[in-house]
Symmetry: C2
Subunit: 372 residues, 2 copies
């Protein structure tokens, strides 16, 4: 796929900066990708994503877009980035995670997965070929191979079976691609067993994908285990291709992931937490609903220069939250996304300056002050 | 109140342009005031109100702000315009309309109204003095006298009683004001009886309020009756004070009201309809949920240059509506408010050019094309 390119720029220990080039523009890594489940990052406009948040790529969920409005509809509108007027790089997951976690499951076979829609119960089927067909209709710059994501804990034998199936599905996903303007990433599975992660990494990276992802983490395991497996897995991933840790995570998780050499992250946490009144700050998490903010004229984070922090007090945001006003969810989401994008930008600068370890240590320490 | 001033600029028939000066800035009339019920115009940011919509003054509801966050809290945050970071002119209603329409009613006496909160059923009391006390805490540039709004149809005898009570309450509201930086408008009642409207206008305008409102319309009567009573009532309102038609209405209503010499309007219609997927266009109303827009790449209104119409297709907005995405409510609200503010701005220009009647006729004709 010659319309997609990754250039490794600087390294600092295992942490790295890079540049991803796509048909819809460039992405500076490490990067966090806001999640636009059904094609919109909930409550946030494309103008805000660009101007206020500094997003460079957003993610759409294949499963959700397949159900609504339907991938054929997205295709007829010229693809996701045109449909939602974002007009910049996009990535779609394979649909696998939602099929396994959200839909009512019927049957997994080697052919694919039969399941029922979480919306209306209708019978559906996704296979590697079907996932790629749908993702080609959606038209994101980066597609993901169809994989089986195992919830943890699981029996080793089942993790092995799912890993082997993920390998077979990866090859079929790769073979199913017909468009030449969309990159395709393979996904490494293997649960929390280090030998299986090594085997899966070797299997998946044997296929000439445009990038590689670590899947199947943040699905029930302890955080130190997640860090250990992430660190272990990146050892077996090629240096000259982007590395994507799927569905992760907290600001702390991003900092650790970057230290292991991860380039890309996505998570619903900043937006979902925002809608629940939980805000990320340089000094840890802040619950906006707390009575003590009623008369506070302080911004959410004195170190933040987002639209929300420049204009609104904790007292007003608390009021919006208590009154159930949509604007509150929106201002909270803008702040949290700005916090995430600002964090990866600062990480990138620290790597370039060769001070990533110190930056990470100090940032983690400040976040642990918490108490709000 | 020397910090408030109204200058009548130009007239064209009975239609008029003017300038209202307030401590938070100026307002060019005729004007439409977006409703910010509990202090936020639902889904819309202050930056959008200014930059994208062209709003000059917004309305807050005294009843709602009294319940949440409490008017004392708003006062401690420096008043409504500072609390919600709008920082421009604001107006509060008296609380009367919500008390009569939303709260569970207990008893109306000459003293005031005993009622129960629609939120938690707690017992509350509002009198003219209490309304002004609350409105002074909220701190809007324009306050409204406490009145009794009668739903229609009602017995003439009851309309008379409510009108007389409204007069007594108007005087008490006027006497209760202690701040010198907030204007206070009186409200004319009298149902749909022309003789009563004349009497009420003479009563209310005998008090030296800073402006006068027509209340008690758009509460159940037929549209031609509303127009007739509005036209009739303005005849008895002074030319040198702002005239405000409360809670009205459709784009057509605004055009008619302006032709009778009304300067100010407010209504939840543009925002509430937006959240229900109903959009206003130069060719009439458009239901965004309709299947026929699924593949449409046309904007909501080809004549509109708002952020929504510049960037998003009917197909995408329909998808957001079908999927229940907050961004859909927001983009629809932005469009509808832009439509309303653009309409009154065009009306103002037409009056200045002395062509208001033609403008109104052509605009009404184009809106009646409808069909979408």
């Amino acid at each position: 796929m010659d319309k997609f390119n990754f250039t490794l720029e600087e390294t600092d220990g295992r942490a790295r900066t890079g540049l991803i080039e796509t048909p819809h523009g460039n992405i500076e890594t490490p990067i966090f990708m806001p999640v636009g489940t059904v094609g919109s990052v909930k409550t946030i406009s494309p103008a805000e994503l660009t101007d206020d948040i500094g997003a460079q790529i957003i993610l759409g969920n294949t499963y959700h877009l397949h159900l609504r409005p339907g991938d054929e509809v997205v295709a007829k509108h010229g693809g996701l980035a045109k449909f939602n007027s974002w007009n910049k790089p996009t990535l779609t997951d394979s649909g696998g995670f939602q099929v396994f976690s959200l839909a009512e499951m019927n049957k997994i076979t080697d052919e694919g997965v039969h399941f029922r829609s979480h919306l209306d119960g209708s019978r559906l089927f996704i296979s590697p070929e079907e996932s790629i067909r749908i993702q080609q209709n959606i038209g994101a710059d980066i597609m993901m191979a169809f994989d089986e994501c195992v919830s943890l804990p699981s029996e080793r034998q089942y993790v092995v079976e799912a890993m082997e199936r993920t390998y077979r599905w990866a090859q079929r996903s790769f073979d199913a691609r017909t468009r030449d303007d969309q990159a395709l990433f393979g996904i490494i599975q293997g649960g929390v067993e280090k030998d299986l992660r090594k085997i899966s990494a070797e299997q998946i990276t044997s296929i000439p994908f445009d990038g590689f992802a670590i899947g199947g983490l943040s699905v029930g395991e302890e955080i130190p285990v997640m860090y250990d497996i992430c660190s272990h897995t990146t050892e077996f991933m090629p240096k000259d291709k982007p590395r994507y840790l799927m569905g992760v995570g907290t600001p702390q998780d991003l900092l650790h992931g970057i230290s292991y050499g991860v380039d890309m992250f996505d998570c619903v946490m900043p937006t979902r937490n925002a809608r629940n009144g939980l805000l990320f700050t340089s000094r840890g998490k802040l619950h906006i609903k707390r009575k003590e903010w009623e008369l506070s004229d302080a911004p959410v984070d004195a170190n933040c220069n987002c639209y929300t922090c420049r204009n609104f007090s904790r007292g007003y945001l608390r009021h919006l939250w208590k009154a159930g006003e949509y604007l509150g969810m929106r201002l909270n989401s803008l702040h949290n996304l700005h916090f995430y994008l600002s964090l990866v930008k600062r990480a990138r600068n620290a790597i370039k300056l060769g001070v990533y370890n110190n930056f990470m240590k100090e940032t983690l320490e400040e976040m642990s002050v918490g108490g709000e």
